[in-house]
Amino acid sequence: MSEPTPQSAADRAPSEPEPLPVSTIEDLCTDVESNVSRVIVGHDDAIEHVITAVLGRGHVLLDDVPGVGKTMLARSIARSVDCTFRRIQFTPDLLPADVTGVNVFNQKSREFEFNAGPIFANVVLGDEINRAPPKTQSALLEAMAEEQVTVDGETRSLPDPFTVIATQNAVEPNQTYELPFAEIDRFMKKLSLGYPDAEEETELLGRAVGHHPIDSLEPVTDLETLVRARETVAEIRVEEPVRAYATRLAGYTREHARIGVSPRATISLLRAAQARAALAGREYVVPDDVQMEAPVVLSHRIRTESRDRDGESVVADALEYTTVE
């Protein structure tokens, strides 16, 4: 099963990148992971999830208390790949133009020139995204969904790859805006890091007292490799039984929650599963891949009736009671 699908090369437009062999994806990810873990102690799962999200052309929302390393995780992953990285610190007074960029009148050339905002980067870190008002948040919507921004009626493409890693603060509810449901849905995954355990924290302290390791972090791969890896992931085989399984999972959430997951969620789920399969060096998705991704891909898109029951528990039930075939 290690042979690449023969038709893929021929069918692809000349400009499209050549996919990497599946077996190399695993190595690539291992490299990135070990690189990142020089900065981040523990959180291996989260690291993997972020990597698969990037490979699966998704965006990630990190949701946790401040200070557990959300930003550091995003930065270290971005730095591990030799690509452009921009950080946007969301504040209550941040305006949409601050994100997308503005047209500025150039006195010299007597013309308006576009002054690209921080969103024009391969990896964008939206820090504390929920501190900005919905209007500004919505500037992200188009960017995340369409990979393009429109300023003064002019549409500009974002670089490829384009990944948003946003963090949001779970405390201070009075000073934050809840993310619109539509925006939430555009994040492939929502992750929580949680506190490191005692051992990890001790280790973490040991690293952080000197120079912060992130400063010395070197890229382990380049943009082209990342693009090709994403192409590989896109070609991972998803057979009908797996698609049907994902459909059943989605159906379960719709039956057991006020708002279940959207078809966009199912697409995200399968893309994440593709990346997960590639990570395991497999050319096809198995239900296990779906199951591994489902909690982080589906949970944040579910609205339940009661407070005792959240998206996570609905997804857990869905995984338990949905037949795998």
């Binding site: 009908e240 096809y284 198995v286 296990d288």
Partner: protein, 756 residues
């Protein structure tokens, strides 16, 4: 399961799979055999009553029509056509029998009753227009069966044919062998049809053969066991029951085979005149048995008497044992007494009780005895009333009656100028040319012919059968009567009748007079046997052989007379006596003598023939009928069992169990890999726990291997399954390996199979 919906690609494995062609041929052959099985049963009927040619032509036409129309019309149209054919056929039958279609429409209840009677064991031969009935019955199912078979709908094709056969089984006409052939054909048709449809292999055909074998062996043993002594299974076996299915058993249960042979006293008669005590009349000869056609009507206070002069004789009959018949001098015209309540009367005027008489039951009989002079009979002419000639089978000969038989009869009666002379000639010929013996083997084929041409001796049944058939060959209406001879006269007008006295004789119709009895059985040597036997029984201390007084009275007193009569009778043929009915009844004539002998013969032979020998009480019928009932019950039980098994899902479970150890036909490698894995899952489920719903194969196996020592081979099968299901497929080799692995794993868990 989504995977099942994928098209099954037939992986043509030349070594294993047989083309659809042979299976189609086999399936068609099976359907043909099924049709053939019930047509054969119907043919047996038409051979007796005529119309075999028409039947075969009709069925042949239907088969051709079905073949031609198979491509032309749709199943619904064909079904409608078959129904039309059936309806038209039966309408014709009803018109022909004089019932009329209108009447049929008006009297649905009657028709339902008739159908119910048929379906509960009334043999087809008892129907008045049995031949026409078969012509109405045969074409519809044959057409529909063959039509469906040609269209490849084998399972459906079995339905009409199977129903037709089932009906014949219920009427008791289809013997075990034919039923078995029909059933096996039906199953074969379905089996081979299925194999054709799915592109089966030789291995599966083998399986079908195993199923056949098991079925046949089982069904034979099942039918053999209940009636062990009679070897009931193959009806019409060579045991020589002359009278086969004549009556329904329950009406005759009082006299069983052995009892008949026995010297036990059956009943006593108080009569002004000595007579044969008739208990049954049969008109239809089937070559190896006599059948009474027509239905039974409730006794309504009187029975039609003879058309001409007759004297009336009163008798009082007392049953001395259980008795399933109503003996009385022919022709009974009036009955009285508790036992005859609800009595039924056959189409031939013979009454029979609705319930078995018990010891001590008593009834009075008024009989009209026809006692004309020979001259009167000679002058009777041949102007037979319609109801004797047309509506009955009194001239019926089996279709296979040879021309030699008719020619020979013509020679015997060459000198006779009148029907009476002809009857006397035949009577005398038989009495003088054949010996009497109880110890005969029943011949195969037409008993009348065999007795006339091949046998030197026989007993009353043979003599009477041959005589009836010979007379019929001469166009003289005749019928076969059974009953008892007059028995031992112990007092003035009191007769003791024993099982030994059972007898069969002949009745011949004469216009303006009615039925006159003839006695073709030679009486000479028999009484001795009768007496010996009775003496033997007395010496053995049997209680039932005598009633009070009868022991003291010499049995031989009859004998003396008999001897005289014997002597007379041969001579008498010219004179009055030949028609024994007169003489016999009047005094102790020859008839008596001859009769006793006859009864005994029955004993001497094997049980079956014994029955034949005895009068009407014939046990053989009982035996045969019981067998058929058992058969019907057995079939029903099987059907019920099958339904039950199906309902409880036992068959499905068994199949699943079987499929656990046997992969079955291999086809698409992906499908094979999936099946292999499912078998593995079931194996593991049995050993550890079933896979949970939300558990993937990986999780299941790793959970098992974490908790138990899981065979690492299981992992390989699961990987193969994964590739087949999610990874775009596996190749043949991988699938085979998975199958082999699961086979090994399964066998290791079933010690018995280690060897293979």
């Amino acid at each position: 399961m989504s995977t099942d919906s994928r098209g099954r690609t037939v992986d043509v494995d030349l070594e294993q799979s047989v083309g659809a062609g042979p299976f189609r041929l086999l399936a068609l052959a099976c359907v043909a055999a099924l049709i053939g099985s019930y047509v054969w049963v119907l043919r047996e009927v038409t051979q007796v009553v005529g119309g075999t040619g028409s039947l075969l032509v009709l069925v042949g036409t239907m088969l051709v029509a079905a073949t031609v129309l198979a491509r032309a019309i749709r199943p619904r149209t064909a079904t409608a056509a078959a129904i039309v054919v059936v309806v038209v056929g039966f309408a014709y039958y009803l018109e022909a029998t004089g019932v009329g279609v209108d009447a049929a429409l008006a009297a649905t209840g009657t028709i339902l009753d008739d159908t119910a009677a048929l379906a509960t064991g009334l043999p087809l031969l008892r129907m008045v227009e049995a031949g026409l009935w078969t012509l109405g019955f045969a074409p519809g199912p044959a057409f529909l069966s063959w039509y469906l078979a040609v269209r490849g709908r084998y399972a459906l094709a079995v339905v009409p044919g199977g129903l037709a056969l089932l009906f014949l089984v219920l009427t008791g006409d289809a013997g075990t062998t034919i039923t078995l052939i029909g059933t096996a054909s039906g199953i074969g048709a379905v089996g081979f049809g299925e194999l054709e449809r799915r592109g089966g292999s030789v291995a599966q055909a083998d399986l079908l053969a195993v199923v056949f074998a098991a079925m046949i062996v089982l069904s034979l043993s099942v039918t053999i066991l209940p009636g062990e002594d009679e070897g009931a299974t193959f009806s019409g076996g060579g045991d020589g029951t002359l009278e086969g299915t004549i009556d329904t058993a329950d009406e005759r249960s009082g006299i069983s085979g052995q009892v008949d042979l026995s010297p036990e006293v059956r009943f006593t008669v108080d009569s002004q005149e000595q007579s044969y005590w008739r208990t049954g009349v049969y008109d239809r000869f089937a070559g190896d048995e006599w059948v009474r056609s027509g239905s039974l009507d409730e006794y309504d206070g009187s029975i039609d008497g003879p058309p001409g002069d007759h004297e009336t004789v009163s008798q009082r009959v007392t049953a001395q044992t259980e008795l399933g018949v109503l003996p009385g001098a022919a022709q009974q015209i009036e009955l009285e007494g508790p036992p005859v309540r609800h009595a039924e009367v056959s189409a031939h005027g013979q009454p029979q009780p609705a319930d078995t008489l018990v010891e001590g039951d008593e009834y009075a009989v008024e009989s009209a005895i026809v006692d004309p002079d020979p001259d009167e009979l000679r002058a009777a002419g041949t102007d037979y009333p319609d109801d004797v000639i047309d509506d009955n089978d009194y001239l019926q000969l089996p279709e296979d009656t040879s021309s030699e038989f008719e020619e020979y009869t013509a020679e015997v009666t060459a000198e006779a100028e009148t029907n009476y002379d002809a009857a006397v000639a035949v009577e005398q010929y038989l009495r003088s040319s054949k010996g009497y013996s109880l110890d005969v083997d029943q011949p195969a084929g037409n008993v009348a012919e065999e007795f006339l041409f091949e046998m030197d001796e026989g007993y009353c049944v043979y003599f009477a059968t041959s005589m009836v058939q010979m007379l019929r060959a001469e166009e003289i209406p005749a019928r076969y009567a059974t009953g008892y001879t007059s028995g031992q006269e112990i007092d003035d007008g009191e007769y003791v009748v024993r099982g030994l006295d059972a007898h069969a004789w002949v009745e011949v119709y004469f216009p303006d007079h009615g039925w006159v009895a003839f006695e073709p059985t030679p009486g000479d040597a028999r009484e001795d046997e009768h007496n010996d036997r009775l003496e033997e029984a007395r010496e053995d201390g049997h209680d039932d052989v005598d009633i009070e007084e009868s022991e003291d009275v010499p049995i031989s007193d009859d004998e003396d007379e008999e001897e005289e009569s014997d002597g007379e009778e041969p001579n008498e043929s010219d004179d009055e006596e030949p028609n024994e009915s007169d003489d016999g009844q009047a005094d102790d004539d020859g008839p008596d003598d001859t009769e006793p002998d006859d009864t005994e013969p029955g004993d001497a032979d094997d049980g079956t023939s014994a029955n034949g020998g005895s009068g009407d009480g014939f046990d053989p019928q009982e035996v045969v009928t019981i067998t058929r009932e058992q058969l019907a019950i057995g079939l029903l039980a099987l059907i019920g069992l099958a339904a039950g098994v199906r309902r409880t899902g036992a068959s499905r479970r068994a199949r699943r169990e079987f499929r656990l150890y046997w992969h079955g036909r291999r086809g698409d490698p992906d499908e094979d890999a999936r099946r292999a894995y499912r078998r593995l899952e079931r194996l593991l489920a049995r050993e550890y726990r079933p896979r949970r719903r939300g558990e993937s194969s990986r999780q299941y196996l790793s959970a098992l291997s974490a908790a138990e020592s899981l065979d690492p081979r299981a992992e390989r099968v699961a990987r193969c399954y994964e590739r087949a299901t999610y990874g775009g497929g596996v190749d043949r080799e991988a699938a085979d390996e998975a199958i082999a692995t699961v086979d090994d794993l399964a066998r290791e868990r079933l010690p018995l199979l280690d060897r293979f």
